[in-house]
């Protein structure tokens, strides 16, 4: 259902929740807004109707996104977005269910739901905005905080190793996995389109800047400085395939990392229903 029509630059404004006050609560320069912009453009380009989209989130800065958009918004509890989304999608398979989540929400408390949603290959699109920190609660470490990085709960440096959300998703069974950064806004939009269009579990990891906490605690500068570092450290997938592990240290591999078609959960279950009902309605 992708439309090739030219979008107007003010398309975002048409999708903002009526009667909600703007600007958003996010910090000045927060990548969440860039992702929201890309998300809305993607939905518009796909020609989806607002009523068919359910936007589900957990808790965190990123999870504040659904309230700002004019879709069926479901702001749930910390870590549980994918479980709620599974209920919505399974009960209403004709809807497009999009989950907006963060690194802590999806991979710490939500880790179990994350791997099972991937495993089921249920037709949900998860947009994981990874800012390597818990922003909403004031800058604690998250499962993607890099080794030795500082946070309020790793004041002497992080002694743990991080997840790679994309590898985790692929290993658990996701069939579309892509990564971009908020610097790469046009690519992000395209990936989100592909992810939503993809029939199966899709993950788009959007590497983003929390300059307020991660940036400040790790001397990464302001929003502009962090975006510039995303630009400098990003490596396109094709190039990354020619690089060694050593060369890729500290780099962000950007691109569609995995894209396969496999049987989807709701479809498989519908077959069971059809068999049990024996063709009678």
């Amino acid at each position: 259902m992708a439309t090739a029509e030219k979008q107007k630059s003010d398309v975002i404004l048409q999708y903002l929740r009526p009667r909600k006050k703007f600007p958003s609560v996010w910090c000045a320069g927060c990548g969440n807004g860039v992702v929201m912009s890309a998300l809305i453009r993607a939905i518009d380009r796909l020609g989806l109707s607002r009523d068919e989209v359910a936007m589900v989130s957990g808790i965190g800065c990123t999870s504040r996104m659904p309230v700002y958009m004019d879709f069926n918004s479901l702001h749930t509890a910390h870590g549980r977005a994918l479980a709620f989304a599974t209920g919505v999608k399974f009960a209403r398979p004709n809807m497009k269910v999009i989950v907006v989540t963060g690194d802590g929400d999806a991979l710490a408390i939500g880790g179990n739901h994350f791997i099972h949603a991937c495993r089921r290959n249920i037709d949900i699109t998860a947009i994981l905005i990874n800012n390597n920190i818990y922003g909403m609660t004031g800058g604690q470490g998250s499962p993607t905080t890099p080794p030795n990085a500082f946070s309020t709960t790793t004041p002497y440096g992080n002694a743990e190793k991080p997840f790679d959300p994309c590898s985790l998703a692929k290993a658990a069974g996701a069939t579309y996995v892509a990564r971009a950064t908020v610097f790469h806004a046009p690519q992000l939009e395209k990936m989100i389109m592909e992810a939503i269009d993809h029939h199966g579990f899709s993950l788009v990891e959007a590497v983003s800047n929390c300059h307020t906490y991660f940036g400040r605690l790790n001397r990464q500068g302001d929003a502009v400085a962090m975006l510039k570092s995303f630009k400098d450290n990003a490596v396109m997938l094709a190039k990354a395939k020619t690089m060694t592990e050593e060369e890729l240290k500290g780099k962000i591999v950007v691109g569609t990392l995995y894209n396969e078609t496999k049987t989807e959960f709701c479809d498989e279950y519908q077959k069971l229903i059809d068999a049990q009902m024996g063709g009678k309605k």
């Binding site: 309230v67 702001h75 479980a83 709620f84 599974t86 209920g87 919505v88 209403r92 179990n112």
Partner: protein, 378 residues
């Protein structure tokens, strides 16, 4: 009239059939003794009628999926036991504040913690009222037989839909696993209630509007009403708020919508109370024991009656006061260390003696034990 279908059925399965009768079309759950048969029954029965069953990765995911499905418009249920109910607590609170109709079955077993997976207790009674944090008003029902389980499950769904709230069905290991003959009601025999849908156009829709009965109409997904559902305390539009006046309105609404209709939600079974001077008060499994003990005692000349609480929460204050008005003594019998007895003490006047008979060793109270207690207090 044609013979109703009579079947020998397990309590857990009667819950499944009652739920389907009430319109259940979505079940998400996780196996846990002694509730597992509810999940297995739904796994078998739901696809036959185009319904959906999913075994989620844990109990938290289960209740999340149930709420998600219900918000989207389906009647949804999960079943568990004590440990699972504890896990679900946070999201049961989410269902309270978002006013999402849902049914949670707790087939109680011995606790705390892993406790006694295969033995009975009624020790989650208070948890059904206070399990999750915060201020809210709860509805919980407790069947006492297989046939009662069917009917109370239908009633639980109706209450959930009517009051836009989670409803807990407090079963226990004995009721869940016992088998009795049940005559399945015909369609139309028992009332089935659906949530009220909005009648205004989407642009005029106020998702959590304050109505005269405090229940806001609830649309399904895809009907043109797009609104925000959040666990944050919110205003009538569903937007989170920090304003004292809006917070008060929301929380007060959660209280009033149920408290104001306590008497309609209350349900008790009353036997031999007309001239009773002593009453047994009980619920669930113990209610049958109490009825048996009361019958025996009556034959021996004691003026004793039996009150069964079918609705546990909201606690039926007025009904208990009225029924026990002419009693001198009340014996509250429970399979726990004393939970409902405190409610009875709270509502009855000081001059009525209240005695507690408690058993918390994983076994059921016997009629003999109730009679011994009766002798003791006489």
């Amino acid at each position: 009239m044609a013979n109703k279908k009579r079947k020998l059925m397990q309590g857990n399965l009667a819950c499944v059939h009652g739920a389907i009768y009430a319109g259940l079309r979505f079940y998400a759950g996780y196996p846990i003794t002694p509730s597992t048969e509810v999940a297995e029954g739904c796994a078998r029965e739901l696809p036959k009628i185009g319904g959906k069953f999913i075994q989620m990765e844990d109990e938290i995911a289960s209740i999340a999926a149930v709420i998600g499905a219900s918000v989207s418009g389906a009647k949804a249920m999960t079943a568990t036991s004590g440990p699972g109910y504890s896990l679900m607590s946070e999201l049961i609170g989410y269902a309270y504040i978002t006013e999402t109709p849902s049914v949670i079955v707790n087939v109680q077993r011995g606790g705390p913690s892993t406790g006694l997976p295969t033995k009975v207790s009624q020790s989650d009674t208070m948890q059904a009222r206070w399990g999750t944090h915060g201020d809210y008003t709860a509805i919980a029902v407790a069947p006492s037989s297989v046939a009662d389980t069917f009917a109370e499950t239908v009633r639980a769904f109706n209450l959930a839909e009517r009051f836009r709230t989670p409803v807990t069905i407090l079963m226990d290991e004995v009721i869940g696993h016992m088998r009795e003959m049940i005559a399945m009601p015909e369609p139309g025999e028992l009332p089935v209630f659906d949530r009220v849908k909005p009648r205004v156009s989407p642009d005029k829709f106020v998702p959590f509007e304050l109505t005269p009965n405090f229940v806001s109409p609830m649309p399904a997904y895809g009907e043109g009403y797009r609104y925000n559902v959040t666990g944050l305390t919110h205003d009538v539009m569903g937007f989170s708020t920090n304003r004292a006046d809006e917070i008060f309105v929301k929380l007060d609404k959660l209280k009033n919508k149920i408290e104001n209709y306590k008497n309609e939600i209350a349900k008790l079974r009353v036997e031999m109370m007309d001239d009773a001077e002593i009453a047994f008060v009980s619920y669930g499994t113990v209610a049958r024991t109490a009825l048996q003990a009361a019958s025996i005692a009556r034959k021996a000349g004691a003026k004793i009656g039996a009150i069964q609480l079918c609705t546990i929460w909201p606690f039926p204050d007025e009904q208990i006061v009225q029924l026990c008005a002419r009693c001198r003594k009340v014996i509250v019998a429970e399979l726990n260390m004393g939970q409902i007895v405190n409610e009875v003490r709270r509502v009855l006047p000081r001059d009525i003696q209240i005695h507690a008979l408690q058993r918390y060793d994983g076994e059921i109270l016997t009629p003999m034990q109730l009679l011994e207690k009766l002798e003791e207090v006489l």
